[in-house]
């Protein structure tokens, strides 16, 4: 019975082919190239394949890069936490609705995301700026005499921008998790005498955990690699690791060192996910809970 086995094998390969092609084209080749280049040497005449560890030695020895990485992780974690605090109540409220209002609120949730990321970030300038909406409104109301300078061009403004542009990626998975919870479970908790807070704590929150975890991972990963938001809103001190990496490519043509900094970021994120995988259940998210 060799033929059916061979046929099954071919079918399996054919079915797997799109996934293999996707992973090869969008993960293995780019990351492999990045990894390879990070061990090369960039100079005035371009990047040459002279294998060396110099880029990694420099990236780890110079305090600047370590400090920027720590600062970036802190900003990404803070963004994730704020996004969660905003997203969860919103998702909980919307998931509890029915009919047209629910549909309308979901559409409204998406509305700002139909435009470009840069435009959404840029919009904060006329809102938070010295002559912006908030300052003008406060002056008009007589609450302040002089514009508030601290609203823009600092780390706080970066957090506002990051939370704004990434929060949907938290809200959506939480909303989908909450929406899938069988209402009978809430009724059962109620029938068994659990007060609403306890029912939420023991039933709703645990069942929405997959949404929280996947949303948190997405927001964290996107925040940690941010470049545009700190560039536009961060001012003189809003630099993040992504800006340091970008400067190596854009200002210095140093692909090798930029590659090494990028690989370090990937490794730090992977190690972070591995360390926390049991606690936050990343295995459940990435492997669908079956492994």
């Amino acid at each position: 019975m060799a033929e059916p086995t061979t046929a099954r094998s071919w079918t399996a390969w054919l079915l797997a082919a799109p996934a293999i092609a996707y992973l090869t084209a969008f993960t293995l080749i780019p990351v492999g190239l990045l990894l390879t280049v990070s061990f090369w040497k960039s100079g005035i005449y371009g990047t040459t394949p002279d294998f060396n560890f110099g880029n990694y030695v420099r990236a780890l020895a110079v305090p600047l890069y370590r400090d920027q990485l720590i600062k970036t992780i802190r900003i990404a974690l803070t963004t994730t936490a704020i996004s969660f605090l905003i997203s969860y109540p919103a998702a909980l409220y919307i998931s509890g609705l029915k009919g047209r209002l629910k549909s309308m609120l979901v559409v409204l949730l998406f509305l700002p995301f139909w435009t470009s990321f840069v435009v959404r970030t840029f919009l904060w300038l006329p809102i938070l700026g010295r002559t912006g909406l908030i300052n003008q409104s406060l002056i008009w109301l007589g609450l302040i005499d002089q514009p508030l300078e601290f609203l823009l061009y600092n780390e706080g403004a970066v957090l506002v921008g990051l939370v704004y542009v990434f929060t949907l990626f938290m809200t959506l998975p939480i909303y989908l998790s909450l929406d899938k919870i069988d209402p009978a479970l809430h009724e059962a908790a109620n029938d068994l005498g659990a007060p609403p807070l306890q029912a939420f704590w023991r039933v709703t929150l645990p069942l929405s955990r997959p949404g929280i975890v996947s949303g948190s991972i997405m927001v964290f990963l996107m925040s940690i690699g941010s470049y545009v938001t700190p560039q536009l809103l961060g001012g003189p001190s809003g630099n993040m690791y992504g800006n340091v990496i970008a400067s190596q490519f854009l200002a210095n043509n140093n692909w090798a060192f930029g590659g090494a900094l990028s690989v370090i970021l990937i490794v730090v994120v992977l190690v972070g996910l591995m360390i926390t995988r049991r606690w936050i259940g990343t295995r459940e998210i990435f492997l669908g809970g079956g492994a």
């Binding site: 005035i44 300038l125 010295r130 002559t131 003189p236 630099n239 800006n243 140093n254």
Partner: protein, 365 residues
Amino acid sequence: MSADHTAPTRRSVLAASAAMAALGLTGRQALADVPTITGIMPGPFLPEPLKAPLSGMAGATLQNSPYISPADTLAKLLAPGGESRFDVVISLSDFVRAPLMGAKAGAEHILPLDMSLIPNAKSITPLFQKDITVRDGKTYMIPVVWGYDSVIFNSDKLSPQDPTTQSWKVLFDDRNAGKVAWRDDAQCMILSAALSQGIADPVSMSDSDLNEIGKFLAAKKKNVRTMWSQFGEAVSLMASGEVYAMYGWIPMRAALQKQGLKVTNNWPTDGLLVWSQSGFIPKGSHDVAAAHRIINAMLSPEYGASLMKETNYPTTNSTVPSAFSAEDQHRFGLDVASTGQKTYPMKMPATMDRWLEVWNTVKAG
């Protein structure tokens, strides 16, 4: 400025415009017959109104690709197959020269130019003759457009007569705390800070001098409202009143003046930062003859005068200034070579890695 002096120059500008318009018409009529080639250069070097006239003059239509930066242009050219991606390129001379020329003869990624096809190159101003790239007697790159970086400021807020205003020092002056913007660029900011601190040749300064400049910038960062990285970002910083002085480019001044703002640029006594952008032909160019004609047409006096009017960017043709009044020449900085204005070429430092590290340390602090 007397009327006698302005009248002929106005006439010559009008004459140049008329010639351009006529050429444009001819160009449009003949568009179907002329070849189309692909180029890459900063958008302002080929503004929309000048596309048809350039085609008319060159007998070739230039399809300009979206331009991001010299680093991006270099990356595109040096990528596998990149040499045949563009037929003609204009990019920042000092940034692209070494990588495109390669370490030694034969390693060039670009073609030697046939100078007999670029007769207008004979008129390249002496100020930029040094930027003509020659190896083994062959010319590979010639400067086509030049410009300068200076401080763009609101003259209602800062007195142009104040000596500090006419210096890079204005960007670091404590009196302007919170009202200035720097450019988020290691090369530009370290150069301007070093010049303001009296370092005569910043590009070759020692590592200890570089560290001192880094400390100086870090100490003065408290005065900075923000650091811009894009054209529109910088213009909106000044237009919205967020800052009243910033490191800036020529077209920013033009854009802000068009908005009716009382904005001008300074003429730093410690050294105006001057650069040129060179034209060259990649090795894989599909139409080398047309690429030569485009470079030659962009170096023509007519194109130079029209480009000045459109964007304030001067070309390197030495006859272009004569199309403008002495007052306009001074206003646009076309007379920097003759007025004794101190200039400093915006060269890439050999230790750019260190410069970038110092700059990133300033930003991280």
